[in-house]
Amino acid sequence: MNSIQNIQQLREFLTVYNTLSERCFNACARDYTTSTLTKDEGSCVSQCIDKQMLVNRRFMLVFAEQAPKALFKQGEQSPTEAIKSASATKSEPVSPPESTQTAIVEEKQFVWETISIENTNFQAMSIISEHGFRMDGRRPAQIRNINTRLGLNRNAEGSCYLEHGNTKVLCAVYGPYEGKASKRLEDRCAIVCQYSTTTFSGLERKNRPRGDRKSTEISRLLEKAFESVILTESFPRSQIDIFCEVIQGDGSNLAACVNATSLALADAGIPMKGIASAATCGIVETKPIVDLTSREETDLLPRVTLATICGRDEVILVELQNRLHIDHLSVVMDAAKATCADVYECLAVVAQQHLKACAPILGN
C-alpha cells in the first residue's frame, strides 16, 4: 500500500516537474548558441519557477483546507495526516533527469531546502518567493516606478498628480488665503487637510468617498505632518488647504499622499523646511520589504509608514499598523528611512525640473 502510494506520488511529481521545465524552456530559452544560460534567460527561468511554485502552493493551501473534509467522509485519514501527506507530495525529493539544464537543477534544490524550513508559514511565503522576488517581480528593497506631473489644476495654487505603480493620487493646494475666521490663528497659518478616496479606488467599491473614520484619521495625520514642514509663522492669519484624492489605491496610499502633497506645496511656492518624502515598509520573517502594494497590505503584516524631510533624519510622521516585534523595529525603520531618501531623490528632480518650466518666458 505504502509503496504504491510512493510511486504514485513520484509519478505526480514528475509530471509537475516535466511540465514546468518544458514550459520554462519554451518561454525563456531564446539563445541556442551557448550551452549556458544567458543572464536574461536565467532571471526569466527563476521568475517562471517562482510563479509556478506560487500557484502550486496556493493549490496546496486550498487542498489542505478541502482535503480533510473529503477524507473525513471516507474515514481513511485524520485531517492532520492529510495535510502532512499533502505537503509530502510536494516536497518529495527526486533527482532530475540529466538532460535538463544545470541552472534549473540548482534552483530546484534550493527550493527543496526552503520549503522544509518555511512550510509552516504559507502567508509569509507568498509575499517573498524563494528567489527573493515579490508578487509583482520586485526585490524586497525596490520601490515601484514613480510618475508625477505638477501644475495640472488651474484653479489651485499648487497641484500634483503622482503615481506609485498603480497607486494614483491627486493633490491640490489652495492658499495661503484669508480663510474662515473660526480657523484663524494670529501667529501662524492654519492648515486644513482633507483626504478622500474615490468610491472605485479600492478592490471593493466604497459607498462614501470621505468622512469615514479612517479617512478622517489620515487627514489629521497629514495635517500634523505638514504643520511641522511648512514654515507656518511666515503667514499669520492665513489658511492653507491641502486636498488629497486617491484615484486608485494599490497600497502605500498615505505615503503617496505625503509625496504628492510635498510636490504640490513646492509648486505653490510655500516656504518649507524641505521636501518631505514618505514610504511604507513591512516586515516578512526578518526581512524588510518596502513600498507595499495592496495585495501585500491585506495580509496580517506589520507595516510602518514613515515620512522624513529631505531624506534626512528629521521624522515628521510615523504610523504603525498591526503588531511588530520590538527586535524588528529598528530593521523596519532603517529600511523605511533609506527608502524615504530614495524617494526624496526622485521628488527633488521632478520639483526642480517643473520649476524651470514654470518660469515665465522673457520675464526679465
Binding site: 511540465t19 510618475n147 506631473r149 495640472l152 489644476n153 488651474r154 484653479n155 489651485a156 497641484s159 498628480y161 503615481e163 498603480n166 494614483k168 491627486l170 493633490c171 491640490a172 489652495y174 486644513v192 482633507q194 478622500s196 474615490t198 468610491t199 472605485f200 479606488s201 479600492g202 478592490l203 467599491r205 468617498p209 468622512g211 488647504d241 486636498f243 484624492e245 484615484i247 486608485q248 489605491g249 494599490d250
Partner: protein, 307 residues
C-alpha cells in the same frame, strides 16, 4: 473658487450672448473642446476621463457587482445601473467636506431618472440579467476632479465612454440543488495544454450607440446656451437638465427626462426651444463620440494617464 461677478460684467456677458458672441469666442450652441480617454484605471471594470475645455475634468469608474434581488418585489424589471457623482475638493475648496454633496446628489438623481428606461433603450442591457433573482449591478461612479462649469454634460460623456469601455464577463447559469442556480464564468475552449485558469474569461460589451445623455441648456438673457463656463453660470436665468437618447428605430432623438436646476421662470415656448437645442446638440455629440470611440488608439492597461 467661488465665482462672483459684478453686475456690469453680467451685463456685458448677457448682451454678448444675445449677439451670439461668448467671452471665449464661442457661439451659443458651441461646446468647448472635449478630450476623452478610456481605460485609464486598471482597478475598475471600465473607466473614462473627460475634459471640457481643459478645465472641467471628470473621471468615471465602473465596478461590477453580482447582485441578488427579489423578482417578486419588483413590478417591472429595474435597470441595473446606479450613478453616483462626487465633487472632489481638489476641484475647488468650496467642495471641501460636504460642500459638493448637494449638487452631486442632484446630478446623480437626474442621471438615475434619465437612465430609468435604459432597459428599453440600450439593445443588449437586458443581458445583465443572469437568472431569476440574479443580475450584474453596474455601479457608475463619477469624480469631478476639476471644475469649470457644465459638470452634467462632462459626466454624461464620461458615462458613455466608461460604459463602452466596460467589459462584462460571460457566465454560464446552471440550475443547482434546492431551486438555486450556480453561476460559473465562461471560458472559451482552447487547444494545447493551457490550464483552465489561464484561459481568459470571455467578455462582452454594452452597445452604447443609443445611450442616454444628460445635457444642460441654460437661458441667459434671451439666448439659450450649452456648455456654460462658471461666469456664465452666474448669469443664468433658468437652467434645464435634459436627458436625450437616440432612437435607433427612426434615427431621431427621444427626450428621457427634463429637470429644472436652480430657480427661475420659464415660458412654455422657451422649454420647446431648449429641448430642440438639446436634441440638436445631442445629435452632434453622438456623432463625435462615435467617431472618437472608433478611432481611439489602444493603450496597454495601466498606463499613466495624466502624464
Amino acid at each position: 473658487m467661488e465665482v462672483h461677478i459684478s453686475d456690469d460684467e453680467k451685463l456685458f456677458l448677457i448682451s454678448g450672448v444675445e449677439q451670439d458672441i461668448r467671452n471665449d469666442g464661442r457661439t451659443c450652441a458651441d461646446f468647448r473642446t472635449i478630450v476623452l480617454e478610456r481605460g485609464v484605471l486598471s482597478g475598475t471594470n471600465g473607466s473614462c476621463r473627460v475634459q471640457l475645455g481643459q478645465t472641467t475634468d471628470v473621471l468615471a469608474g465602473i465596478k461590477l457587482e453580482l447582485e441578488s434581488f427579489d423578482p417578486a418585489a419588483e413590478k417591472e424589471a429595474k435597470q441595473p445601473m446606479s450613478f453616483h457623482v462626487d465633487f472632489s475638493a481638489n476641484a475647488s475648496s468650496q467642495f471641501a467636506g460636504k460642500g459638493g454633496d448637494q449638487y452631486g446628489e442632484e446630478i446623480s438623481a437626474a442621471f438615475q431618472v434619465a437612465f430609468s428606461r435604459s432597459l428599453d433603450i440600450l439593445p443588449n442591457l437586458s443581458k445583465t440579467l443572469l437568472a431569476e433573482g440574479y443580475r450584474w449591478k453596474i455601479n457608475v461612479d463619477l469624480s469631478v476632479l476639476q471644475w469649470a462649469g457644465s459638470v452634467p454634460d462632462a459626466c454624461s460623456l464620461a458615462i458613455i465612454g466608461a460604459l463602452s469601455d466596460l467589459e462584462i464577463p460571460e457566465v454560464e447559469v446552471a440550475p443547482d440543488d434546492g431551486g438555486k442556480v450556480s453561476i460559473v464564468l465562461k471560458r472559451p475552449r482552447t487547444g494545447g495544454n493551457m490550464r483552465d485558469e489561464e484561459v481568459p474569461v470571455a467578455m462582452w460589451k454594452l452597445d452604447v450607440q443609443s445611450c442616454p445623455m444628460l445635457l444642460t441648456v441654460s437661458k441667459i438673457g434671451s439666448a439659450n446656451l450649452v456648455d456654460c463656463s462658471p461666469e456664465e453660470e452666474c448669469c443664468i436665468r433658468s437652467q434645464l437638465l435634459i436627458g436625450v437618447a437616440k432612437n435607433l428605430n427612426d434615427d431621431d432623438y427621444d427626450i428621457t427626462c427634463i429637470k429644472q436646476h436652480g430657480g427661475g421662470l420659464l415660458e412654455m415656448e422657451s422649454i420647446q426651444d431648449m429641448t430642440e437645442l438639446a436634441s440638436k446638440t445631442a445629435g452632434g455629440l453622438y456623432q463625435a463620440i462615435e467617431k472618437r470611440l472608433k478611432t481611439e488608439e489602444k493603450r496597454k492597461p495601466g498606463h499613466s494617464f495624466l502624464l
